[in-house]
């Protein structure tokens, strides 16, 4: 689910960039915020960071004693992407293996659908392997699948989310 969130952030302006004032300073703060936002990529609580939409406020700068930098507390609005257990979503198959398939959904590449969670689907090996049920519904690379999220995991080191998904439920499976 894409979310519009309002978040606090601390932007640090190094001492040697502090000779600008007013609008120039504001511009500096915005540029740094956008860069840090892009580098951060994702957090456990808010999911993936997509874009900053508005800068709501810039607080009073506080000098950091050790370094002489100035810290500006800002509040901004932005778009994030986060998935929830129990959420129903659509994604695209990227890889088919004997025990299940990998899907991508939004910025997330690592959604795993185990064959145990694909009721009545059987594996067909080959150069372009796929799963199929007896109603001729096919799950192969590039197919769109509607699924339910059964678990999520935040990977601190890679700053990424992984998820386990399932087709157990009505209207879940390949979407024509």
């Amino acid at each position: 689910m894409f979310l519009k969130v309002q978040l606090p952030w601390n932007v640090i302006i190094p001492a040697d960039s502090l000779d600008s004032e007013g609008l120039m300073l504001q511009r500096q703060i915005v540029i740094r915020l956008l860069n840090e936002f892009a580098v951060k990529k994702a957090t456990k609580d808010h999911g993936y960071f997509l874009a900053v939409t508005t800068l709501e406020s810039i607080g009073e700068g506080r000098v950091r004693q050790q370094t002489g930098d100035v810290l500006f507390p800002v509040v901004f609005s932005g778009i994030t992407f986060k998935i929830f257990t129990g959420e129903i979503l659509e994604g695209v198959v990227v890889k088919v293996l004997k025990h299940g398939v990998f899907l991508k959904c939004g910025p997330i590449n690592n959604l795993y659908l185990s064959n145990l969670k694909m009721p009545d689907y059987n594996y067909f090996p080959g150069e372009n392997p796929f799963f199929m049920n007896d109603k001729m519904s096919k799950i192969e690379k590039d197919v769109t699948i509607r699924f339910i999220v059964i678990g999520t995991k935040w990977m601190e080191a890679e700053r990424e989310v992984q998820a386990l998904v399932s087709l157990d439920g009505d209207y879940l499976g390949p979407v024509p």
Binding site: F2, Y48, K82, F84, T85, V149, L164
Partner: protein
């Protein structure tokens, strides 16, 4: 003593979107439909192109992948239609989350809508199948007549 990995290694869930248990801050956060995000991200691309021709080559992967995704999974393409969709859905007393899921899938019938958003029926809010179908018909109209 072996530990079963797999589902157990994933976070134990009090979280459950099927019951709208997704945390207070997310229930209150504004949810965006794919089509709304597409408009916002396209707008950002426009701004970047004004900065430099090369700017699009430098956008983060998260942005790039999300843009691809929302373009592929948007049911409504123009701003006016998107506005109407939100207006229509807002009249039915849905939460932001429920509204966005319905706007993303545009279910054809009440059964499909309830499968995608189980809380429609579990909360006893006067959303019987007839009302849900009426909502879906309104969405279908907008989709049919969007430019």
């Amino acid at each position: 003593m072996s530990q079963t990995i797999g589902a157990n290694a994933f976070r134990e869930e009090e979280e459950n979107a099927a019951e709208l248990k997704i945390g207070d801050e997310f229930l209150k956060a504004k949810c965006l439909m794919n089509c709304e995000v597409a408009i916002l991200l396209e707008h950002r691309c426009e701004q970047l192109r004004h900065v430099s021709e090369d700017a699009m080559n430098q956008v983060p992967q998260v942005f790039e992948k999300s843009l691809q995704y929302v373009k592929r999974f948007s049911r409504f393409s123009n701003q006016e239609a998107v506005k109407q969709v939100r207006e229509v859905l807002s009249r039915y007393g849905l939460t932001e989350f429920e509204l966005s899921v319905l706007g993303n899938f545009c279910p054809e019938n009440a059964a499909e809508a309830i499968a995608a958003v189980p809380t429609l029926k579990t909360k006893g809010r006067g959303l019987d199948e007839e009302t849900i179908q009426k909502l879906l018909d309104e969405l279908a109209m907008i989709k049919k007549f969007q430019l």
